[in-house]
Symmetry: C2
Subunit: 417 residues, 2 copies
């Protein structure tokens, strides 16, 4: 079974909204062995939607469309589906009852009549009720194909997919498993890595595929295989991973994790170490990354975003003289910030960042794109500098934060803390 996604919405095409639904849906489908083979992102126009349905049918057996189901005039997905399937739109009493409860629960009973059209669905459709919004999810099965229309709001999409669509598909079809395995490599450029593992790569079985995914200066090697038995797939992939150990073992910082924050969690849990942060140029991104992992509260105790430089002095105890002598974007200030955070939060590890993210230079005329970050593990300390002049503000904060966590992982592995 192959899936095609259709993302419907002018707000995506206009660059206003990033489409995160496709990413979520593709990830969930992969878990039950359904690969997504293509994604169409189209405008809120009846013809575009119909054309994409047509194209999607040629590529897959399962089509999942998101968006265009709001109660307003700019939303046209339902009409496009009606025309595409030569169907009628009818008021569904079960959906109407659900809608009634939905509005009553929110003390908005007076809005029911106005939203009645949201209970009008395709006559052929099977309905999955939406617990978090007024637009129901409709499914049509025709000629052995399945088409599902979902609303576009991510927090309506996620529970519908996770709690209703995926269980339905997993139960109805005897599906393959897709197993992926990620190895994180550092300290070697992609071209050289590719050369070093060439004979291993060429000897991989045909049904195990390899991708190189660079993230900053880390390269994720991802192995993927598909088949009936999850256990067997995992065994076969593991055999290949074992062969890689003598070839690039020294450059590997994780044999199984994916995100750097997950890799770090494994290590911190094992070593029972705690972490605090003191951020300036990353503005909270570093602690956000750390706390994005469930269970992070066991090792992440807290952080300071000392954005104004007086706060670096008052709260973190950075010396005013250091700031005057070296400016706020300096190795010395990064070091004093991590020292202050370790003391304030009483943690084993502290991480600090200070830099100029632009687009304007700072009050000390430091060069845009410069960042210093300090990593402290017990009484060990290391400061590094990054120079990223072409990065926009948010990419800069994210890149620096990722690098801090990656360097911490490297230190914890190599230095055996």
């Amino acid at each position: 079974m192959k899936a095609v996604l259709i993302t419907i919405g002018d707000e995506i095409l206009s660059g206003n909204t990033v489409d995160t639904n496709s990413n979520f849906i593709a990830g969930e489908l992969k878990k039950i062995g359904i690969p997504v083979v293509q994604i169409f992102t189209v405008s809120d126009e009846i013809e575009s939607i119909k054309n994409s349905l047509d194209a999607a049918f040629k590529l897959g057996d399962l089509v999942i469309a998101t968006g265009g189901l709001g109660p307003t005039k700019d939303d046209k997905t339902k009409t496009a589906f009606k025309e595409f399937f030569s169907d009628e739109i009818v008021l569904d009493s079960e959906t109407f009852d659900h809608l009634k409860k939905y509005f009553e629960k929110r003390n908005r009973g007076h809005l029911l009549e106005l939203n009645k059209p949201q209970a009008e669905v395709l006559s052929k459709a099977f309905i999955f009720q939406n617990e978090n919004g007024s637009a129901p999810c409709q499914m049509i099965q025709e000629n052995g194909k399945i088409v599902i229309s979902l609303p576009g709001v991510p927090y309506e999409v996620k529970p519908l997919i996770k709690d209703k669509i995926i269980p339905f598909l997993a139960q109805k079809f005897s599906l393959n498993h897709i197993v992926t395995h990620t190895i994180s490599v550092v300290g070697i450029p992609e071209s050289l890595l590719s050369e070093q593992i060439e004979s291993w790569e060429l000897a991989l079985p045909n049904d195990i595929s390899l991708s190189y995914l660079p993230v900053g200066n880390r390269i994720k090697l991802r192995l993927t295989a598909q088949g009936k038995s999850e256990e067997k797939l995992e065994q076969r992939i593991d055999q290949e991973v074992q062969k890689l150990k003598p070839i690039i073992g020294d450059n590997v910082i994780s044999w199984s994790g994916d995100n750097i924050e997950e890799i770090l969690k494994q290590i911190l849990d094992e070593k029972k170490l705690t972490v605090a942060t003191a951020e300036s140029c990353t503005g909270g991104e570093l602690s956000r990354l750390l706390t994005s992992i469930s269970g992070s509260s066991t090792y992440f105790l807290g952080g300071i975003v000392a954005y104004d430089y007086h706060k670096k002095i008052e709260i973190l105890g950075v010396s005013e003289k250091t700031i005057q002598d070296k400016t706020v974007v300096s190795e010395e200030v990064a070091e004093e910030m991590s020292f202050g955070a370790q003391k304030l939060f009483k943690t084993n590890i502290s991480l600090s960042t200070t830099g100029v993210s632009g687009p304007n230079s700072d009050e000390f005329n430091n060069e845009i794109g410069t960042a210093f970050y300090s990593i402290r593990v017990n009484d060990f300390e290391q400061t590094n500098r990054l120079h990223l002049p072409h990065f926009d503000r948010n990419d800069f904060a994210n890149f620096v934060s990722q690098r801090v966590l990656q360097d911490l992982v490297e230190i914890l592995i190599k230095e055996k803390y």
Copy 2:
């Protein structure tokens, strides 16, 4: 001129990576009046890439493809382009010189030979050199159409688009302008808003389009128009906006801003107020949102992420008794946190969050998805509760943070601080 984007990469289709390039490129193209009419996301397979080029040519005059240009075996875009355009791949000496400088600058001269294939390009292509990576950007012009192939790494894509592709297109074509204008409405559901402004909406000129974009409980009304004179377009849109004032004026929190953090910046700059944060369940997301805006350092002085509850006591001065009596996820703790932050950072405004983001409940058995947030403006204070049981961890942090900023905007507008 119409544009079609092609995103090439198995890592997108597998749900591993969110495609942020399309969003950026669409936004930049819009600024010079080129609408994106469709996006194809396809796998790293030669046939898929060729088919998408074929389909893209039918829909637009400008095709921009990203991804699949790495030096490793899993990247196949160049071969697909070669076959599609029946062209040859040749070593380009200028690109090779650029590559040489690129590696030398990074003290990686020894890697040049290995990366030589990166200087091999389509013989028909015009080359835009890549300052931040080894894969050049290639452009082919044929039958009045333009096709551009870019690498996939976002921080390579952004400067290529901004500094090279956009200036080239803007100079070559006499383009239309696309003007958009966003009005932010709160305190009224989408269906009711749609009814209230129905006659205004139906009377809009044909070439001004309206979209409803819900973000939490805020609705963004977006007006879009396209034409030769930017000034005239803005005047015409403004006329329509003026007519809206008597109809929904009381519910509008911004007549022009888009993101809530931008809307807040305008107000804080005008009123010369400073802000600090004290976060728990949002884990840094609130300060990240605040600092994502350039110039935020004039009003955002800093924040605390007090993740461990002892830190709420030690650093923010929350009383241990309050935590014991009310648990850490309570109105009272939220209030004491904002009080502590206002005192610690000496700001006019302080914002705090405390909640349970899940997937696991906290040590006090509070219900997953519960959050309290407190907003303090000078001696005014307000605490609210949110209940978002179906949200995943990161959506929860983002939703709560957005809501805090939105409520702050409402308070600042209505209470005239």
